[in-house]
């Protein structure tokens, strides 16, 4: 039962992250919601799947994938934001055009 609760939480995070990446106005805000969708959504969904499967070699391999995703997602988000900031993309402000 608690496994399905985690899976539902992950699906909710993934759904609203997708809505955010379509609706938000700027690179940095889109990067924020994308990173949230990656970290929280993937963590909750994979922890739910591990709890659903029980502890064996199958779920240990899922845990390896989860640790790898948690290590690499902030690095790639930071690399994208750094590259956009170096090329001179200004953050979005309310009231200005764009």
């Amino acid at each position: 039962m608690i496994a399905y609760l985690f899976i539902f939480l992950g699906l909710v995070f993934i759904f609203f992250g997708t809505i955010g990446i379509i609706r938000f106005p700027d690179i940095y805000t889109r990067l924020q919601t994308s990173s949230k969708c990656d970290a929280a959504g993937a963590t909750a969904l994979l922890v739910g799947l591990i709890l659903k499967e029980g502890l064996d070699s199958f779920s240990l391999r899922i845990l390896t994938i989860l640790v790898f995703l948690l290590l690499t997602n902030p690095v790639s988000s930071h690399a994208i934001a750094r590259s956009a900031a170096i090329r001179g993309i200004k953050p979005w402000r309310k009231g200005k055009r764009g």
Partner: protein, 88 residues
Amino acid sequence: MTAMIFIITILGLTASLTLYRVIFGPTPWDRLIAVNLISSKVVMLMVSTAIFFERRIYLDVALVYAIIGFVSIIAISKFLEGEGTNRK
């Protein structure tokens, strides 16, 4: 089993919705963010598919896909940062 079909459907649907930002994104970085998100969703989809079909080999495929996605995102963002060879 119905729950796994529901998870796979939701993940595929949201990955297809993210494809809107890849096609209509104003700048290359928007497309890069959306491709990163689609890659992460495909990894989760492969894990769900491995549990649904009970094939362990899909988990190895998911791990290798995550590694290749991470290296390609880092390489493309470094490329866009320097804009090819015209670095000042």
